[in-house]
């Protein structure tokens, strides 16, 4: 694997470090269907890495492999320079990977604040007795984590809906709350599954700005799936292109844009 020495600084002044996550020869099958066929790529510290491709290309499956929902039949996942054993999703979450979902997966019965607070659960260790009597560690932890959550609430500008039940929120805000919940975990690697699906231009601009700010200010490494090519090409450092479970392109937005295979996959091939 690449070592941390080959870090470099981007044009806009962000430092891209060594490899954070390395996927090697991942193959995922559902019965006879190969959803992912022998795909390898890496995600480097501090970068915004996009995964694009037509519908059914296996992008979400790829994200599900990273977040531990699926265990690939072949291939290895290397995280922070160590080979990761087969893990349950909650174990992956505790190792510093947070994610959002394509179709929002918030806790509808809870308020926005409680939803975001669930992102802090992995850092709350008060014992049962302390929690029962709400003294000592339980109360201290609650206040500490609340302060951290409030910073994220400020960051994403959702102060006004703090106490609103999530079920009542409009779609765009729900997406933002889900991002907030993922951020609350203070992950090393943030996976975003179509963060801009179903949004209008204005909401997309807001979301793009938040993604860039998160990456820039918090230094979070981001892997995202997105269909809006304009957005992807604008915000990402490197792009992986998938089609029918295969990797057909990998590189900077410019490289990918001029890759003939990618153009074929998106525009179709002229059969003559």
């Amino acid at each position: 694997m690449k070592d941390t020495a080959d870090s470099h600084v981007t044009e806009d002044g962000r430092t891209i470090g060594g490899t954070l996550l390395d996927l090697r020869g991942i193959t995922l099958r559902f019965g006879g269907v190969e959803a992912i066929k022998n795909i390898s790529f890496d995600i480097r510290q501090g970068e915004i890495r996009a995964i694009i491709g037509p519908n059914g290309a296996g992008k979400s499956s790829m994200l599900n492999v990273i977040s531990g929902f699926y265990n690939p039949q072949e291939g290895e996942v290397w995280f922070r320079g160590e080979k990761r054993p087969a893990m349950k999703p909650f174990q992956v979450a505790r190792s510093g990977v947070a994610r959002t979902f394509q179709n929002i997966a918030l806790f509808d019965g809870m308020s926005v604040l409680d939803n975001i607070m669930t992102g802090r659960l992995n850092d709350m260790h008060a014992g049962l007795v302390a929690q029962m009597i709400w003294k000592g560690k339980a109360e201290r932890e609650e206040v500490e984590n609340r302060a951290r959550v409030e910073r994220i609430i400020d960051f994403l500008e959702i102060q006004h809906i703090r106490k609103t039940p999530v079920g009542r929120l409009p779609y765009g805000l729900k997406k933002r709350v889900e991002l907030a919940r993922a951020l609350a975990a203070e992950p090393d690697l943030l996976l975003l599954d179509e963060p801009m699906a179903g949004m209008n231009v204005e909401e997309k601009e807001d979301m793009s700005r938040y993604i860039l700010d998160v990456n820039d200010e918090m230094g979070t490494t981001i892997a995202l799936i997105e269909h809006d090519m304009g957005v992807v090409m604008d915000i990402s450092d490197r792009v992986v292109v998938m089609d029918y479970g295969r990797k057909i392109g990998d590189g900077t937005p410019d490289e990918v844009r001029n890759n003939p295979q990618v153009i074929d996959a998106y525009l179709g091939v002229a059969h003559d």
Partner: protein
């Protein structure tokens, strides 16, 4: 106009996460607590104790317990009666085996024993959900009742197969057995109720409660943020059963005094507590109390009105009572599917603005 929160600003996160953030609510709570602890013991008599207060308090604990499991963690259980029986029989065995130990300690230990049994029967919840889990807990209900009926060790080989509470005192006052002092029994149960409600509230507002609610609302998303579903569900089963066990122990030792398991802790009891939780409001501490109050007080009230007020024959009144209570349950569920607690919440929202519409 009178009920408002204007000027009631919170400057700390502790202040913002307290149980009653609105000052008037807090005063109301202290007032109710003061009346319950200071005034009621002075005027309570045996009729009020046995017809109203004891069932109300004891069912409130059971409803709190079930609400943790079903309302907060989303795991449907039809085994409440069976778990109450575990509490009752554990308490009976402890009372007869260690007669010198304080009854209050016995009741708490019964809670722990029930918690262990509850976690055992909660294991299927890791694999099955919803109606299927309900059926699995139904199996627990029937198995436990069968067990206490068939294994003579549990009822100390008594000829009748019943268990009856020996006389016990607490600080010189009779709590169980015949000839108890009404106010002492009442206060004894009140302490358990207040402690249970306080603990439930603390657990549900902190990280434990958030884990449960996350599992309830979307278990996949809960797992992705790092909630271990096994531990979350089993802790809900354990803590829920703890309170259900305490209520079962109190039901047997303090309220009834003698118990025949199939009659007292049958499937009817499971449904009764489940109805309390649903009518009161799933996922609400206040709802547990409102639900228990509704299911306990409504029949008593109807009986007094029909027989005492209108002078109808007792048997006619008894049948009508069933129909009216059933009708009221349907009525309340249609008016507010989220229970009486939600009704109260809406009333509060309205009161904040009253008398101005906007």
């Amino acid at each position: 106009m009178l009920y408002r929160e204007a000027g009631d600003f919170k400057t700390t996160y502790t202040g913002d996460s307290q149980t009653f953030p609105i000052r008037l609510d807090r005063w109301g709570y202290y007032l109710i607590l003061a009346v319950a602890a200071l005034l009621v013991p002075l005027i309570i008599n045996d009729y009020w104790l046995n017809a109203v207060m004891l069932p109300l308090l004891i069912y409130a604990i059971a409803a709190l317990g079930l609400n943790i499991l079903t309302g907060y963690c989303g795991q449907v259980s039809l085994g409440t009666g069976g778990f109450m029986a575990v509490g009752a029989y554990a308490c009976y065995k402890l009372m007869t085996a260690f007669p010198d130990i304080n009854i209050a300690i016995h009741i708490v230990i019964s809670g722990f024993i029930t918690a262990a049994v509850g976690m055992l029967f909660g294991l299927p919840s890791l694999r099955i959900k919803g109606f299927y889990l309900a059926v699995a807990t139904l199996a627990a209900q029937f198995f436990l009742v069968w067990l206490f009926n068939r294994v003579p060790w549990f009822y100390n080989y008594s000829a009748s197969g019943q268990i009856s509470a020996p006389e016990r005192t607490l600080m010189g006052f009779r709590i169980t057995g015949p000839e108890t002092q009404a106010w002492a029994v009442y206060l004894f149960c009140l302490v358990f109720v207040v402690a249970s409600a306080w603990i439930c509230r603390n657990l549900t507002r902190g990280s434990m409660g958030r884990k449960w609610m996350a599992i309830r609302d979307m278990d996949i998303a809960a797992e992705i943020i790092g909630v271990n579903p096994l531990r979350a569900k089993l802790s809900a089963f354990g803590i829920s059963s703890f309170f259900v066990g305490i209520s079962g122990a109190l039901f047997f030792a303090v309220y009834l005094g003698a118990v025949e398991v199939g009659e007292v802790f049958g499937i009817n009891k499971s449904f009764l507590v489940l109805f309390m939780v649903i009518i009161g409001g799933l996922g609400s501490i206040l709802g547990s109390f409102l639900g228990a109050a509704f299911m306990v007080l409504m029949p008593v009230l109807l009986k007094n009105v029909l027989v005492g007020g209108l002078g109808w024959p007792t048997d006619l009144a008894a049948h009508l009572e069933f129909m009216i209570v059933g009708g009221l349950i349907v009525f309340f569920l249609i008016v507010e599917p989220h229970g009486l607690a939600q009704l109260w919440r809406i009333t509060k929202e309205k009161l904040r603005l009253w008398p101005f519409p906007h």
